[in-house]
C-alpha cells in the first residue's frame, strides 16, 4: 500500500505487542528462577526461540519469504512453556510447540475463527502426555489442591461459611498465596501478574474487557457454586489465564461487547468445569470454547449495532 492518510500512527504494531507481552511473561519466570534456583527462565527463552524458529521455517517453506523475528509464535511457545510443569521433558514440548505453531496458529491467519494456539498445544499435551502434565513437583498447598481446591472441598464435605468463602479454607497461606505458591512457573505470583496486566493494559497492548469480564464472572460463578472466590482467584492459574490467555487479541472477538461476552463465557465455563467435572485443567476447555464462540459474538455485535442505528433512524 502506498502512502496515504492518516499519516499518524497510534499505538504499537503487532510484533511489538507480542514482544511486550513476552517481556512481561519473562518477569514472573525470572523471579521463579531466582527463588527456586531453577534454570527455568533460560528454558522459557529457549522455547520462545524454538517457536520463532518454527514460524521462520513455516514462512520459508509455505510463503517463500525470509522472516527472522517472529514474535507471535515466540509468545505462543513461551505461554505454553509457562503453563506446564517445569519438569516436562523436551520432546513433548517440541511436539506441542510445532503443533501449536504449524497447525493451529499460522494456517489460520486472517480467518474469522482463531484458536488460542498455546491452549491447543496444551490440550495436545494433556491428551498425549497426561502423566507429565500433572507432575507439579513438590507437594505444597497448591499442589495438594491441584488446580483448584474444589476437589478437596467436595471429598472432605466442607461446609463453608461466608468468611471462609472469601478467604479460602487453607490456613496461613496468604503470604504463600501472594508470593510463593508453586504451581506452573508462569502462574506463581498473582500480584506480580496483576501488576503486569495493569501495565500492559495501560500501554494499550492488552484489551482490558475480556480479562476483567473473565475475572468477575469466574468469581461470581465460583461463589455461586459455594467455593471461596478470592482463594480461587489467587491460586492456580486464574490470574495467569486472565493476563496472558483470555486477553489474547487474536482469538477473542473483535467487538467490545463480544469481548465482554467471551470473557463471561470463559469465566463461567471455567468455574463450572472445575466444580462439576473431574478435569483438572479447566481453563483449556473454557478458553477453546470461548474461541469457538468468538465469530458468533462478533456477528451478533455487528448486527445489534446496525439495528440500533436503524432504530434511531426510524424513530426520527
Amino acid at each position: 500500500m502506498p502512502i496515504a492518510s492518516p499519516f499518524l500512527r497510534i499505538g504499537c504494531r503487532s510484533s511489538t505487542m507480542a514482544a511486550w507481552t513476552l517481556a512481561a511473561l519473562m518477569v514472573p519466570s525470572i523471579i521463579y528462577s531466582i527463588l527456586y534456583h531453577s534454570p527455568f527462565a533460560f528454558r522459557l527463552a529457549g522455547y520462545a526461540l524454538l517457536g520463532m524458529l518454527a514460524e521462520t521455517l513455516y514462512v520459508l517453506v509455505v510463503k517463500r519469504q525470509r522472516r527472522l523475528v517472529c514474535m507471535g509464535s515466540g509468545l505462543t511457545a513461551a505461554i505454553l512453556a509457562a503453563s506446564v510443569p517445569p519438569s516436562l521433558p523436551f520432546l513433548p514440548m517440541l511436539f506441542a510447540i510445532l503443533l501449536a505453531v504449524w497447525i493451529v496458529k499460522l494456517p489460520f491467519t486472517g480467518l474469522p475463527l482463531r484458536l488460542n494456539a498455546a491452549m491447543a498445544g496444551r490440550l495436545f499435551l494433556m491428551l498425549v502426555y497426561p502423566a507429565h502434565v500433572v507432575a507439579w513437583g513438590t507437594s505444597t498447598a497448591d499442589v495438594v489442591s491441584c488446580a483448584t481446591p474444589q476437589e478437596l472441598y467436595r471429598s472432605e464435605n466442607f461446609m463453608l461459611a461466608w468468611p471462609e468463602l472469601l478467604f479460602g479454607k487453607i490456613d496461613g497461606t496468604w503470604e504463600e498465596l501472594f508470593a510463593l505458591v508453586p504451581g506452573s512457573p508462569g502462574e506463581t505470583f498473582p500480584i506480580v501478574l496483576l501488576l503486569l496486566g495493569g501495565i500492559l493494559c495501560w500501554k494499550g497492548i492488552l484489551a482490558w474487557r475480556a480479562p476483567l469480564a473473565f475475572l468477575l464472572s469466574f468469581s461470581l460463578a465460583t461463589a455461586l457454586c459455594g467455593n471461596a472466590p478470592l482463594f480461587n482467584l489467587f491460586s492456580a492459574a486464574t490470574v495467569f489465564s486472565a493476563v496472558f490467555i483470555v486477553s489474547d487479541p487474536v482469538s477473542t472477538p473483535m467487538s467490545k461487547s463480544g469481548k465482554v461476552a467471551c470473557g463471561f463465557v470463559i469465566g463461567t465455563a471455567n468455574a463450572l468445569i472445575r466444580e462439576f467435572t473431574y478435569y483438572t485443567e479447566a481453563i483449556v476447555y473454557a478458553v477453546l470454547l470461548g474461541n469457538l464462540l468468538a465469530p458468533l459474538f462478533d456477528r451478533i455485535a455487528f448486527e445489534l449495532r446496525g439495528r440500533k442505528l436503524l432504530r434511531s433512524k426510524a424513530a426520527r
Binding site: M1, I3, A4, I10, A207, P249, A301, L309, L310
Partner: protein, 342 residues
C-alpha cells in the same frame, strides 16, 4: 510535405462571440447592516465561499438549507492533531470572525451564537474578552471531536440519528475560517482569496500559522520560509494528518488546504500485514462501529444487509481505525471504496 487538415467543426469564423453561461448578477458587497436573508446566499456565491474546515461544501447551499436555524455554532474545534489554525484564527482575527458570525446569524435568523472550541483554561478567559455575548462550549482536546456529528452530540444531548444533519435540528455549524472569510468580504470587500493554514515541518522544528493566497503553488509557500524540502525523502501532507491527502509541490494552495505538513517519507510508509483480529479498530472507533467487519464484508460482497448499510452510512471516515491498526491495514481507504461502490 504539409497537408491541410480538414475538420468540419474546426472550420470556424474568426469573430466568435465570448459567451458566459454561468453569468451572475452585478457584484453586490453589502455592508454589515444590509444583510438580507434572500440575497445573502448569492453574496456567498459571489465571494466564492466553500466550507473552509476541509469539506469544500458550497456555503450558499448550506445557508439556504439552514434558514430558520435557532443557533449558529462557530466550529473552532480543530480536531486534526498537531494543527492549530482554527484556534489562531479564533484568537487573533476576532473582528472578522465576529462580523461574519453576526452576518450569518442575521441571515438565517439565529438568536444565539456559540463558539465550540477546545477546552483550554488559559485561552477560554481570553476568548470571553474578545467575544462578548457569545456562548463558549469547551470540547475535549482529542481527535475526532470536531466532526459535526460529535459537536451535535454534545450540544443537543444525544447523537443525531443516521442521515440527520445539524441543520435539521436547528443548528448551523460553520467553521471559524469560513466565518472569517465572510467577515473579510463584508468589512474589507476582499473575496475568498486567502487561506489561513498551518505550515509545519517537524524534522526542522518549524511550525507557523500563515495566511497564504489561494492558488499559490505549495513550492512557493515552502520557499518563502526556506524549508529544506526534498521530494525524495519528504512527503507533503495537505489538509491534515488524519483525513488529509498527499500533495505535490506543484499543486496550488486550495481553499480547503487547512494545513501543509512536511513529513519524512519513511515515517509514514506502511506495509500491510494480515489482520490479527485484535479489535483495536473497534475499540478506537468514535462512533462504536466495526471497521474491520465492514471492510471484510465489503470485500466479500456481503453488502446487502441493512446492518451493514446503516453502519457504512454512519461512518464519516475519520481515519482513527487506520491509525490504530497494529497490522497497518489501510482501513479508511477500503471504507472509502466501499462507500463509493455499493
Amino acid at each position: 510535405m504539409l497537408r491541410r487538415i480538414n475538420i468540419d467543426w474546426a472550420d470556424l469564423p474568426h469573430d466568435l462571440p465570448l459567451e458566459n453561461p454561468f453569468a451572475t448578477a452585478e457584484r453586490t458587497f453589502p455592508g454589515i447592516d444590509e444583510i438580507d436573508p434572500a440575497t445573502f446566499p448569492d453574496f456567498l456565491d459571489e465571494i466564492g465561499l466553500v466550507g473552509m474546515g476541509g469539506s469544500g461544501f458550497p456555503a450558499s447551499a448550506k445557508i439556504r438549507a439552514c434558514a430558520g436555524a435557532h443557533t449558529l455554532v462557530v466550529n473552532a474545534v480543530e480536531c486534526e492533531p498537531g494543527i492549530r489554525i482554527d484556534q489562531s484564527v479564533l484568537l487573533h482575527e476576532a473582528p472578522w470572525v465576529i462580523a461574519g458570525a453576526n452576518a450569518c446569524a442575521k441571515a438565517v435568523g439565529a438568536k444565539t451564537i456559540l463558539i465550540a472550541t477546545k477546552g483550554d483554561d488559559r485561552r477560554l478567559g481570553e476568548l470571553r474578552d474578545r467575544y462578548p455575548g457569545y456562548g463558549i462550549v469547551p470540547f475535549p482536546a482529542r481527535y475526532p471531536a470536531g466532526a459535526e456529528k460529535l459537536i451535535m452530540e454534545k450540544l443537543a444531548g444525544t447523537r443525531p440519528p443516521p442521515g440527520v444533519r445539524a441543520y435539521q435540528l436547528g443548528y448551523l455549524v460553520q467553521n471559524v475560517v469560513s466565518l472569517r472569510a465572510v467577515g473579510r468580504a463584508l468589512v474589507d470587500g476582499i473575496p475568498v482569496v486567502e487561506r489561513p493554514l498551518s505550515l509545519a515541518m517537524p524534522s526542522a522544528r518549524f511550525y507557523k500559522n500563515i495566511i497564504a493566497p489561494v492558488g499559490l503553488s505549495i513550492r512557493e509557500v515552502l520557499d518563502a520560509y526556506r524549508l529544506p524540502y526534498d521530494p525524495c525523502i519528504h512527503i507533503l501532507a495537505a489538509a491534515g494528518l488524519m483525513m488529509g491527502h498527499e500533495a505535490q509541490p506543484e499543486d496550488p494552495v486550495e481553499k480547503t488546504t487547512t494545513s501543509l505538513v512536511v513529513l519524512p517519507r519513511d515515517a509514514v510508509w506502511r506495509q500491510e500485514r494480515p489482520c490479527i483480529r485484535c479489535g483495536a479498530c473497534n475499540t478506537a472507533c468514535p462512533l462504536g462501529l466495526h471497521p474491520y467487519s465492514l471492510v471484510e464484508r465489503s470485500q466479500k460482497g456481503k453488502t446487502a444487509s441493512a446492518a451493514f448499510q446503516a453502519q457504512l452510512d454512519e461512518c464519516f471516515l475519520c481515519g482513527v481505525c487506520s491509525a490504530v491498526c497494529p497490522s497497518d491495514i489501510p482501513l479508511v481507504q477500503r471504507l472509502v471504496e466501499a462507500k463509493k461502490c455499493p
